[in-house]
């Protein structure tokens, strides 16, 4: 296997393919970001463009429901600004006395309550995802620790059981889970989306592998000799040792929870509780068909946090995938 001309051509072709794939990975997002800054006529003329325009604020206002209204003084009258009013021919408008007429002072007010609100979606997604991440990581570590550090009768049975549970596709339980939550009166609340994270079999599996490989049980023995209680041993000694694993998995759990669409669609019913993916569904029809830039901008705002997270943590994420912490499709 000597590097020769054949290999050189192969290398060029492979680089070319990789560049094409890179462009493919990025292109839709570039179009999205660029179109967020363009006006509707611009997009209608030429939807595929790489030159950003300056309609970002206009699109933002349309998206959030801001309307230009006149500023009113204490008595409710309009206040004139110092801009003259011109008619369609470009001539200044004169009033009855032949004086210039001035435009009223305008400001933007959020008059229209649009159902789509990326800030609300962000807040809800953040709350739920943080809750899920903390619960999932803590209790998975605890369960894995129970499996590794102690000898007890059902230890192996439970682990085999956890492996089996990993295989259950999530959507099979959804109908029953919805009925269960409905009867408990938990629809439109956060807890049905956060509490189930306590039982995360894939995470238990991963933490157990990590602990078997990297957790020195002598430390636990030492702590016992020193008189520490088991629970505080776990919290004070074991958990800090798990930091690397926890850190990588935390990102996956967080992003997985953030991107979850099915369960929040069913369980969260009011506008104020909607998570980001559920919010995205509202970006259709209505003004988003007439002000296309607003639709692109709405999508961009839902995607932007993930971009930021990704490009900060990309190395850890890729390392984590390699070790094997991936959610299924």
């Amino acid at each position: 296997m000597k590097p020769g001309a054949g290999t050189k051509i192969a290398r060029i072709l492979i680089y070319f393919l990789c560049i094409v794939l890179t462009v493919l990975s990025v292109l839709p997002f570039i179009i999205m970001f660029v179109n967020s800054t363009r006006s509707t006529p611009q997009i209608q003329q030429n939807a595929l463009s790489f030159r950003p325009s300056d309609y970002l604020m206009d699109n933002y206002r349309h998206m959030m429901g801001y309307v230009e209204v006149p500023v009113l003084d204490a008595r409710g009258n309009e206040i004139p600004s110092d801009q003259r009013l011109y008619n369609a021919h470009g001539e200044p408008v004169l009033d009855a006395n032949g004086e210039y007429v001035f435009r009223p002072l305008m400001q933007y007010e959020r008059i229209i309550e649009r159902a789509f609100n990326p800030y609300v979606g962000f807040k809800n997604s953040l709350l739920i995802s943080i809750g899920v991440t903390i619960l999932a990581l803590y209790f998975s570590s605890l369960t894995a620790y129970a499996n590794v550090a102690y000898q007890w009768r059902f230890k192996n049975a439970l682990f085999a059981f956890i492996l089996f549970v990993m295989m259950i596709p999530t959507q099979v339980t959804v109908i029953g889970y919805f009925q269960f939550v409905f009867r408990m009166g938990g629809t439109n609340a956060y807890w049905p989306l956060i509490l189930p994270a306590i039982a995360s079999p894939t995470l238990v599996f991963f933490m157990r592998q990590y602990m078997i490989a990297s957790l020195p049980l002598d430390l636990v023995e030492a702590a016992r000799i020193d008189g520490a209680k088991e629970f505080s041993t776990f919290n004070r000694i074991v958990l800090p040792l798990l930091k690397p694993a926890v850190a990588t998995q935390a990102i996956f759990v967080f992003v997985g929870s953030w991107n979850n669409l099915f369960l929040p669609s069913i369980l969260l019913t009011s506008n104020e509780k909607r998570t980001m993916p559920v919010m995205v569904q509202l970006l259709r029809g209505d003004i988003y068909d007439t002000v296309l830039g607003a639709q692109y901008l709405g999508l961009a705002m839902t995607i932007l946090p993930l971009f930021v997270v990704y490009f900060i943590f990309s190395k850890y994420i890729i390392a984590g995938v390699a070790i094997g912490g991936v959610k299924d499709e």
Partner: protein
């Protein structure tokens, strides 16, 4: 002694194993096991009531194996393709077979006689497209034998006064209880609505007639006397008896051209009169305008000004708003429009819950009822076909590309640079919310304005913008492949090939280098090494990727839902989307949704097990078996 102490300590601490596992076990029981059992149970039973999402919650009761409610009605649905056809309306009719039924304009089928009937829906736009569906009517139909209009009050004396007529139907258990009302004017006149409420119009006598719609044509009549409608010899309300629609021309031939229409009313003195003292004020009757698209399309304002939209024929209708529901129509021909009229290409009719049976008495629910129901449902079968097809179109290119990339990226001879950068870029689509991506792609493929269409037009592939999302890609052997299916498959591929590649790279890195060295010593080429050394060693990893991709693919929801909600023509309807629609939209049939969930569970389990079994490491299993046998023999001889 130390060992004893350690042993003693071990036994003591075992309880913490249990204690620390409790939260997990509890959470699993409550949040996964109970719902799973519940789902199975719902699939086996007849859950009554409905649960409204997004509004006040209503009740849901829960009963085992009861009789499914029968009835004499079945709602039919029509699905029209393409989505942007100018006139999407259809006309329903029933062709009697051994049985008979009637159908109303909204597609509600009412059984009249046992046997088979054919329901036909015909497109209204002269395209000639139609579809048929056969329904079987089972059970005993009790015909209406008599109707009794028993009103003690038979007069109306106030101006515009109303009177409700009560109809009693004999026998009480007649299968179809619906009746049609009409007024036969005598010396007087009145209106009657669908619920039997009479509104007085003119003094005199009128006859109210009620007729049963179940085909027996049983009817009853009642005479009413109306008085007090005139003041000073003047009738305050003269209803319209005829309307004709008039206009200068019967054509529009300019693009977005306008035609003003008006109405002529008969009798000339129709309208309302208000008498106040000396003055009599006459309010002429008004009409509401509407356009009925046939092959063309137009819109009309409240004042009768019509603007053309698409070439073809439209009918302008003016309906009097005075309660008489009298209308007049005129046919207008439109030409010269820029916007073409689009005929219906295809029409599919189905029934509520895909039922092919109207069962009058209902039937006893057998335990596997809903499973059979779902398995036989054409919609579920379509969803299953789509899910498998889209997954295959996603996975096969994905695994091939990922294997190739993984091989190249780990090839020490190639020494490719920037591998880290490429990894970051290829993985990126996976982390973005699928919902946002789906909607983004929907917008990208927009019609008539969209980046993809723009690109295609600029490149010269097409002259005008195509509605890519509703198009059909190919039709090999009658199996239709929709563009939308390929796009959804592509989105999945695009989101997951990076992940697969990274996992495969990790797998390759884990292969012992000595294997590669010995292959090199034996003089194997890159390709041969890959096939005979790398791939076999990657077996477990590939199986892992295959199984997780399959499990995920069978549950594909986000992309089909946000891309076009399963449309066009249910081409991207996946089983998850089917379950979601059944449970949380429309009639909220949780039983069917639960049954479908269980069916998917079984499919996933069976296929996963088969995949694991077929790709198991036979050598290792054989070795393990031999080892176990040896151990047993050894222990037996000890």
């Amino acid at each position: 002694m130390k060992k004893e102490r350690k042993l003693a300590k071990r036994i003591n601490y075992a309880k913490y194993g249990y204690i620390f596992s409790i939260p997990f076990v509890l959470a699993f029981l409550v949040f996964q096991l109970y719902p799973l059992v519940f789902t199975t149970a719902i699939g086996f039973t007849n859950m009554q009531g409905s649960v409204m999402l997004g509004s006040g919650l209503s009740e849901a009761t829960f009963t085992w194996n009861t009789v499914v409610d029968g009835g004499s009605e079945l709602q039919m649905h029509s699905d029209v393709s393409p989505e942007y056809a100018t006139n999407r309306s259809v006309t329903w009719e029933v062709i009697p077979g051994t049985g008979n039924a009637i159908i109303n304009a909204n597609g509600l089928l009412t059984a009249i006689d046992n046997g088979a009937v054919t329901v036909r829906a015909m497109a209204n736009d002269d395209s000639g497209v139609y579809d048929e569906f056969e329904i079987n009517i089972l059970g005993h139909i009790e015909p209406v034998r008599a109707i009794n209009l028993a009103n003690s009050t038979r007069t109306i004396t106030s101006v515009g006064g109303t009177l409700r007529i009560n109809a009693e139907i004999y026998p009480e258990n007649a299968t179809t209880q619906s009746i049609v009302w009409e007024i036969i004017p005598g010396t007087g006149n009145a209106f009657i609505n669908a619920t039997g409420l009479v509104t007085a119009v003119a003094d005199g006598t009128v006859t109210v007639r009620a007729t049963s719609i179940d085909g027996t044509n049983v009817s009853a009549e009642l005479e009413l006397t109306i008085s007090g409608q005139t003041t000073n010899g003047l009738t305050p309300f003269v209803p319209v008896s005829e309307i004709s629609v008039v206009s200068e021309s019967a054509e529009i031939y300019t693009d977005n051209g306008i035609l003003q229409l008006s109405m002529e009313v008969y009798p000339a003195d129709a309208g309302r009169y208000n008498v106040s003292g000396e003055n009599i004020r006459h309010t002429p009757p008004t009409a509401r305008w509407e356009v009925i698209s046939k092959t063309g399309d137009a819109r009309i304002s409240n004042q009768g000004q019509m603007t053309a939209l698409a070439n073809g024929i439209v009918i302008v209708r003016a309906t009097a708003t005075d309660g008489s529901e009298v209308f007049g129509e005129k046919e207008i021909t439109i030409s010269g429009q820029d916007e073409p009229s689009v005929p219906i290409a295809e029409l599919t009719i189905s029934s509520a819950n895909d039922s092919t049976v109207i069962s009058i008495e209902g039937h006893t629910l057998r335990p596997l009822h809903y499973f059979n129901d779902v398995l036989n449902s054409p919609l579920f079968r379509t969803a299953l076909r789509n899910t498998i097809f889209i997954w295959l179109m996603n996975f096969i290119p994905q695994i091939v590309l990922a294997l190739a990339l993984a091989a190249w990226f780990t090839n020490s001879m190639m020494k490719l640079k920037c591998v880290g950068f490429f990894k970051i870029m290829f993985y990126m689509p996976n982390i973005i919310t699928a919902a946002s991506i789906a909607l983004l792609f929907n917008t990208l493929f927009g019609h008539p304005i969209g980046p993809v269409n723009d690109f295609l037009m600029r490149v010269g592939f097409t002259g005008e913008s195509i509605n890519i999302m509703v198009g059909i890609f190919a039709e090999p052997f009658g199996f239709r492949i929709f563009n939308a299916q390929l796009i959804v498959a592509f989105i999945q591929f695009w989101m997951w090939y990076g992940v697969t590649m990274i996992i495969l790279i990790a797998g390759i890195m884990g292969i012992s280098p000595s294997l590669f060295e010995s292959a090199a010593i034996d003089g194997a080429s890159h390709f041969k090494t890959f096939i005979h050394v790398t791939l076999p060693s990657l077996r477990t990893v590939v199986v892992y990727v295959l199984v997780t991709s399959f499990v995920g693919g069978m549950q594909m929801f986000d992309i089909p839902r946000l891309f076009n909600n399963g449309q066009p023509h249910n081409s991207t309807l996946t089983t998850s989307l089917f379950i979601f629609h059944q449970a949380f939209e429309g009639a909220q049939r949780f039983n069917r949704a639960a049954a479908a969930s269980m069916i998917m569970f079984v499919i996933i389990c069976v296929v996963s097990s088969i995949l694991f079994f077929v790709t198991r490491d036979r050598d290792a299993a054989q070795l393990r078996r031999e080892y176990k046998a040896r151990e047993r023999a050894r222990r037996a001889s000890e």
